[in-house]
Assembly symmetry: C2
Homo-oligomer: 239 residues x 2
């Protein structure tokens, strides 16, 4: 079974939702047969590369709320995180363009360390004092800590085309699947869960999707089995 999770490193509910999903997955009897893939979704692609600032005044300005309200939101998020045992930097978090972080997550997917990198980037953004948007060395340290080779990380960061197409493909697919926000969980392209739902909702979704697994319907036309190659050779009609 495959669970695809669209997220952004900028997104507090993605950080919180991942933890709730993992509570459900850890208790799921078939967890070893569940493949989890992280997919890219930029919450705000209009933020330019290099543009950063503190989240609280940015949010207040953007949505026309007071800075006090925006600061209270961060406290509320911190409380939700704490309820899961997750640290959360309620003051001083910054925002920025996440495209390069998504490109690195695709590199990490290729290297088999995507889950480790997403956890590291969440920690880098929601816990560490250093910025993941304004401090490239911080990002490199996190990526190397997650198991990537430093040269690979610097190579991808230096080449704006590297994995760019993968990020855009993920974003197109999110739109096609109807996602308008994140986190967005898709199970076997059949069931969708939107938001940082309670763990029991993820348990329900895993159970339902597991029960709905079905073998492929084989389409073979009137000719039946056609020409294939397998470990026992190619079924070649004699000329």
């Amino acid at each position: 079974m495959r669970v695809e999770i669209w997220t952004d490193i900028n997104c507090p509910f993605c950080y919180i939702g991942k933890s709730r999903f993992e509570q459900a997955l850890d208790a799921f009897p078939h967890k070893d047969e569940v493949e989890v893939v992280h997919r890219s979704f930029e919450l705000d692609p209009t933020v330019k590369k290099g543009e950063t600032g503190l989240v609280v005044p940015h949010i207040a300005h953007k949505y026309g709320i007071s800075e006090a309200q925006a600061a209270a939101n961060e406290q509320g998020l911190g409380q939700q995180a704490a309820a899961l045992g997750l640290p959360y930097l309620t003051e001083g978090r910054d925002y920025g363009n996440s495209f390069d972080l998504h490109r690195l997550l695709h590199l990490a997917k290729d290297k088999g360390v995507q889950d480790a990198l997403i956890d590291a980037l969440y920690r880098g953004n929601f816990v560490d004092k250093e910025s993941v948007f304004a401090d490239e060395e911080h990002v490199v340290r996190l990526a190397v800590g997650a198991g990537l080779a430093e040269a690979d990380v610097r190579g991808v960061l230096a080449d704006p085309d590297a994995y760019a197409e993968d990020v855009r493909t993920d974003e197109r697919e999110a739109a096609e699947l109807g996602a308008t926000g994140v986190p967005f969980f898709v199970l076997d392209r059949k069931y969708g869960v939107s938001g940082a739902q309670p763990a029991e909702v993820f348990t329900q979704a895993l159970t339902q999707a597991w029960g709905a697994r079905s073998p492929l319907t084989v389409i073979d036309g009137a000719t039946g089995d056609a020409d294939t190659c397998g470990p026992d050779g190619c079924a070649v009609p004699q000329a």
Copy 2:
């Protein structure tokens, strides 16, 4: 809609089947909404890296048929290819371990040129006199011709771990989906087509899978919409 095609560069029916599938896809009214992904399947992973030789005596020895029969098989394959307008080197084709070629196909996927590379590798194996198994420079030329940067290609070839996990994941998924040979076509993880079927079978499969597309079933438990972040910010409960 997504079509995944498990193939091996060693596999004549994969070369032929791709062409038949593309005939159907070209005539399919929704072809612009069909995403095609090539996935890895090693026909014979027991062939060691560096081991190569002519296909005809290899096949004859392996399956206990005469060399004349094995040579006649190649002629038969050449005729099937010719019927599609595909060139086919009926004499002198060699075999080898395809793991590195699959790793390059994953690099090409990341760079958005996977389809171009698979066509180039088929041409390299089934048409060109140079080997794709014994002549690394031939492979590099084909990959560069398909749009990859030479340094990337050489980097992947020099690092046996690069994209290795992607190849193995594809192979595990093929086994889980019930594929025992290739080419193996999977439409939206719902329909399967095995073998180099006639184009009309692919047309039927595309039509059937298109009709069966369905929106995700949303699972949201009793709480309804949960916490998400979107372009309009995060829906944060006031603390």
